[in-house]
Assembly symmetry: C2
Homo-oligomer: 367 residues x 2
């Protein structure tokens, strides 16, 4: 038996099922931040109607998909690198950059750490402060850049804090970094799940920056983490170099079918936008009323929560919820978080109501 890595990521239904003796399909998974509208009906039909095409290799250059993604984001296909999830793009970017030291505001998405380990990049942490609601202060970040730093990771909105930087703030950092040739990997994997995507994304500005690599994901918005699709966005020269490093046929054929529904007028997209405009705020307001926790205001489809009730920590709360068929994300393994932080996804109203009920049941129990 292979060693099992434990719950170092959200979404490990397999382990949870073994641990809590509940079938995988019976869990409400609040540990992974996936659109509760689920797999788009249109994609489901595309998959069902094209199974026979699996007998063909995907087009190794992914020309059609690349153009579809570019059109959807209203940028040139020369700026787009499609990938096997946002994860492949992060790894490819680091492989290409060949840098030695990076600055990373923490807490943030743990896979940057994994990628840095793989490519022997030393990480310098920039500690975000709980008392500032984990918001990044641009001046403080600039102050922590020393001359060894060759790369800055930015995650906007940030995972797991759900904080969002304004475009002007991000640009200030990218501009500041440009002079000394410091690269910025800007992970916008959840920016399409904010209500200000257009206002805050830097996608359309990449041609002006030779130091900027944006990472985007289609996995979260379209509810398809099992299918794997993401992209990188950067200037033409970087995009061309990074594309050359992509593993041949790394994106499976079914994932390429998503390209066919990339259209702003698509119903699924519009419904998702409507949900993201309403539900996180509703869930946040409801959670604020629950005793024994502190709730950080979300900007996307997940919410960071601090446990105040001293009878619980992130593990025992996770287990209590787990036994009730709900998975949450224990955040104790994030750098700069401890065992009193957990993360909840935001789902549909019905699930969120069940979630609230179970959470209250646990926290209101007499000790």
């Amino acid at each position: 038996m292979k060693e099992i890595k434990g719950n170092s990521h959200g979404g490990n239904l397999y382990l949870a099922s073994k641990k809590f003796g509940i079938k995988e399909e019976d869990f409400l998974d609040y540990s992974a931040n996936i659109n509760p509208l689920g797999v788009p009906k249109q994609l489901e039909e595309l998959i069902k109607n094209n199974i026979q095409n699996l007998v063909n290799y995907p087009n190794i250059d992914y020309t059609v998909l690349t153009n579809q993604v570019a059109d959807f984001l209203d940028i040139s296909s020369n700026n787009v690198i499609v990938g096997n999830g946002a994860t492949e793009i992060i790894y490819l970017a680091l492989e290409h950059l060949k840098i030695k030291k990076a600055l990373m505001p923490v807490p943030t998405f743990s896979e940057y750490d994994g990628a840095c380990k793989k490519y022997n990049v030393e990480l310098q942490y920039h500690y975000l402060k709980d008392k500032n609601d984990f918001k990044l202060n641009v001046e403080e970040l600039k102050d922590s850049i020393n001359k060894d730093i060759e790369l800055i990771f930015l995650c906007n909105p940030n995972n797991p804090t759900s904080t969002l930087m304004k475009k002007s703030e991000v640009l200030e950092i990218v501009d500041f970094a440009k002079g000394p040739g410091i690269f910025v990997i800007l992970d916008e994997s959840f920016i399409d799940l904010t209500d200000e995507e257009e206002e805050n994304s830097l996608s359309k500005l990449v041609e002006q920056y030779n130091n900027l690599i944006i990472v985007r994901s289609f996995t979260k918005f379209f509810g398809i983490p099992g299918l794997r699709l993401g992209c990188g966005i950067c200037n033409e020269s970087l995009a061309s170099e990074i594309t050359k490093k992509r593993l041949p046929w790394s994106i499976n054929y079914f994932a390429t079918l998503l390209g066919e529904m990339l259209d702003k007028n698509n119903t699924y997209i519009q419904e998702t936008k409507k949900w993201i405009n309403e539900e996180p705020l509703w869930f946040y307001n409801e959670l604020k009323e629950v005793q024994g926790i502190e709730v950080f205001k979300p900007n996307t489809n997940f919410i960071l929560v601090k446990i105040l009730d001293e009878r619980f920590n992130s593990v025992s709360l996770r287990d209590s919820m787990g036994r009730r068929g709900i998975l949450i994300r224990d955040c104790s393994n994030y750098v700069n978080l401890s065992d009193i932080y957990v993360r909840f996804a935001v789902k549909d109203r019905e699930s969120n109501s069940i979630f609230l009920e179970k959470l209250k049941e646990i926290l209101n129990e007499r000790g």
Copy 2:
């Protein structure tokens, strides 16, 4: 628009469709070596019935799939690395080995070359001889190993020559290499499409060799190059190290479903075995009767052919067949082959008969 790499691999229906003005689905694709039984009905059902599960991340350790593959191959799961196609395994192996120089009998599968370029591995070619039907002579190979060589690539059966080495021959090389610590990457991607898989595969011997990494594919046998699934087989220590280098979630969820049909008694598997025992030999015998070509005896589901008719080369024959709706593989870009070599896949009897008819039409035309 991204630069299009051209037909450097088989199976590029997208380009062929543009070039010949024929719809992708109307081609008979003899350029890629895929089981003509197509996508297994059982897998089709599994996909259709599990589309909703795409909302979950794949289990990052692929524990279930790894066990299913190991059981199927009757080896320990500690020896198995599942991957995003055989391709990911080849790249991971090279990434792990960190070697400087490799020996490669040519002609062979072009992706080894791609992987070596990526990891800065210098290649020394060992030229197989047309006059020996491109069969590898073990003594000659051993003679060409000098002390700089740290790795030998072996492809068994070899692509595109369709030659098969006996287990004893392969073992002689692996044993010879073991002493001086030379690694062997043994690509058995097509060995399940020979009629002597059990007799010739080294899968069950990996625990005895610390210098052997076997690569296997599920893509060709199960007709699913669009889905991507392969595995590496090696001793426990190598397997553990190489697994750590795998990209998180590199295998999509649908590909993991194939694990459920890995059973020797499976009808699809038995039908495929029956076909592979009969059809390549039939097609070979028929092709031998066609004037203007020399046909190399196949051991798996593709056939190397030399064009003797001086009116044609690999490009013009490919184009003539392409205009008739049949794709063949121009082999001129293989090292140690030239523009008089082409490769034909073996398909079902009906398609093979159409193929023969079109080929004769072209070669029998009066100049």
